[in-house]
C-alpha cells in the first residue's frame, strides 16, 4: 500500500480535431482491479492504449512503478525498454484473441514465447509450464501442438490469457476480454479471470461495456462519456448509488434477467 503501481495524470489524446480522451487522472494500487465502463466511442480503449504505452497521449503522463528500476514514465522509455516491460511485467488481453496470439504457431509456442522473452531457455521446462498453463485455463493438454486457428473463440481467449499470465506479470490490461463470446463461454472466462486475478494478486485495468462483468471482476470503476471520466468510485457504490446522470442512465438501462 506504499505507492501506486500505475499513475495516470491528466492523460489526453486527440485524433485530428476530435478529443478521444480528455484529462484523465487516477492511481491504481497493487492488487486493485479498475474497470473502465462507458458506451462505444466513449474513449475507453483509447485510454487503455495510452496507459499501456501503445498510444502516445497528446497531454499528460503515465507513471509505472517497476519491479526493480523504480518509477518510470511509460511514454519516455525507449521502445526497447517499453517492449521489455510489456513482455515481462505487463499483460495485454485483446478483445479479439487473434490480435494477441500468433496464429501461425502452436498453442505451446504461443505460451512459451513469453517465457523465452523473460529468459527461459530449457525446452522441457518451457513445455512443462505451457502444459501447466493449458490446464489452468482449462484447455486439454493434447491440444498443445495445435495452432490457435483450430481453436474455438472461447479457447482462443483462454489461450491468450495463458500467454499473458505465464510470465507472471504484475499488471494486466484487458480490453473487453469477454466481448463477442457466448454467455456460457463468457461465464467460464470470467470465472477463470476472477480466480487468476485473486490467486496471483494481479492488478488490472479492464475495459468493458458490460456492467455485469464490471461488477464481477472490478474493485473500482471509472465511468467515461465523450472522452471524459464523469464518475468514479467503488464498483458496488457506482452501480448501486450512481450520482452522475449518465451513470444513472447506464445502470437503469440494464435488462433484468
Amino acid at each position: 500500500m506504499s505507492s501506486p503501481l500505475l499513475s495516470a495524470c491528466r492523460v489526453t489524446k486527440r485524433f485530428g480535431g476530435r478529443t478521444a480522451c480528455h484529462d484523465v487522472s487516477f492511481d491504481l494500487w497493487p492488487g486493485e482491479v479498475l474497470g473502465i465502463v462507458g458506451e462505444s466511442g466513449s474513449g475507453k480503449t483509447t485510454l487503455l492504449n495510452c496507459l499501456a504505452g501503445r498510444l502516445v497521449p497528446d497531454g499528460g503522463s503515465v507513471a509505472y512503478e517497476t519491479r526493480s528500476a523504480g518509477i518510470v514514465d511509460v511514454h519516455h522509455l525507449s521502445e526497447a525498454r517499453r517492449r521489455l516491460l510489456a513482455r515481462t511485467e505487463w499483460g495485454f488481453v485483446n478483445q479479439d484473441a487473434r490480435e494477441g496470439l500468433r496464429m501461425g504457431v502452436s498453442a505451446g509456442a504461443n505460451i512459451g514465447e513469453r517465457l523465452m522473452a523473460v529468459g527461459a531457455r530449457h525446452y522441457g521446462e518451457i513445455r512443462g509450464q505451457a502444459i501447466d498453463w493449458m490446464a489452468r485455463v482449462e484447455i486439454d493438454a493434447d491440444r498443445i501442438d495445435d495452432r490457435p486457428t483450430t481453436y474455438s473463440g472461447g479457447m482462443r481467449q483462454r489461450l491468450q490469457i495463458a500467454r499473458n499470465l505465464v510470465s507472471n506479470p504484475r499488471l494486466v490490461f484487458m480490453d473487453e476480454p469477454t466481448g463477442g463470446l457466448d454467455v456460457s463461454v463468457q461465464a467460464r472466462i470470467l470465472d477463470l479471470l476472477r480466480g487468476l486475478v485473486e490467486g496471483l494478486h494481479l492488478s488490472a485495468v479492464l475495459v468493458t461495456h458490460d456492467l455485469g462483468v464490471a461488477r464481477l471482476l472490478t474493485h473500482r470503476l471509472m465511468v467515461m462519456q465523450g472522452g471524459a471520466v464523469v464518475e468514479q468510485g467503488l464498483t458496488d457504490q457506482v452501480l448501486d448509488d450512481p450520482q452522475h446522470p449518465y451513470t444513472q442512465m447506464l445502470v437503469a438501462s440494464i435488462l433484468p434477467v
Binding site: M1, W29, E32, A187, R188, L190, D191, R194, E198, R215, L216, H219, R220, G233, L234, D236, Q237, D240, D241, Q243, H244, P245, Q248, M249, A252
Partner: protein, 244 residues
Amino acid sequence: MTSSQPALRVCGLAKSFTVHAQGGLALPVLRDVSLAVSPGECLALVGPSGAGKSTLLRSLYGNYRADSGSIRVRQDDSWTELVGAEPRTVLDVRHRTMGFVSQFLRVIPRVSAVDIVAEPLRRRGADPAEARRKAEFLLGMLGIPSRLWALPPATFSGGEQQRINIARSLIVDYPVLLLDEPTASLDVANRDGVVELICQRRDAGAAIVGIFHDTDVRDAVATRVHEVIPPASSPPVSPAGVSP
C-alpha cells in the same frame, strides 16, 4: 475487546438521492443520524417501511455514498473515516473489519456454494483446505444439505441462497457486522440456526447493526434499538440544503 469504546460511530449522517431522469428530483432519506455501537452490542434499526433503514445500513458499508456527516470505524486502534474515503480505504475496512449480510445472494456463474462461502477467508490468506472445512461446517450448521455444496447456487431456493450468503459473511470474524434482514425468507428451523450464529458473534465481541423485521428474532439478538425517522416526518429540507 475489553474497553467499552465503540467499534462504529456515526455522527450527523445525511443521505439523499438525486434522480436525474426526474429533472434532478432530490429525495432526502437520512438526516442527522447519529449512533454508536460497542463490541458485544447488537443495535436493531427500527422504523416504518421506507424510513431509510436499508439506506442507513448501506451507507455504513459505503455501498451508498453519504452526503455529509461522519462514519468512523475502529481499526488498528484508531478511527478510520469512511465518508469521503478513498475506495481502497473502504475496501480495506471491508476486508478486515466490516462484514455485510444482504438479503440476496449475488451468484457467481460456475462457482460452487462451498467455494462462494470459503472465498472471503481464502482472500485473507487462509489455507484453502482449511477455508473449505470451515465453509462446510457453516453450511451444515445452517442446514444446507451436503449434496448441494458442490453446486453453483444459481438454481437454489431463495432461503438456501440467503443462508449461503449468511455463511459467506460470517465465515470471517468481522469485528463489525451489518445485517439486512438476515432471516427474511427462512422457515423457523433455519431461522433459529441463523439467530444462534448471530448471538454467538455478538457474545464473542462483534459490534452488530441490523434490520430484523421479525420481532422474535429482534428480541433474541438485539441489545438496543435505534429508531430511524422517516424523511417525511423530519423537518422540511430545501434541496440546496442536502446537496453534497
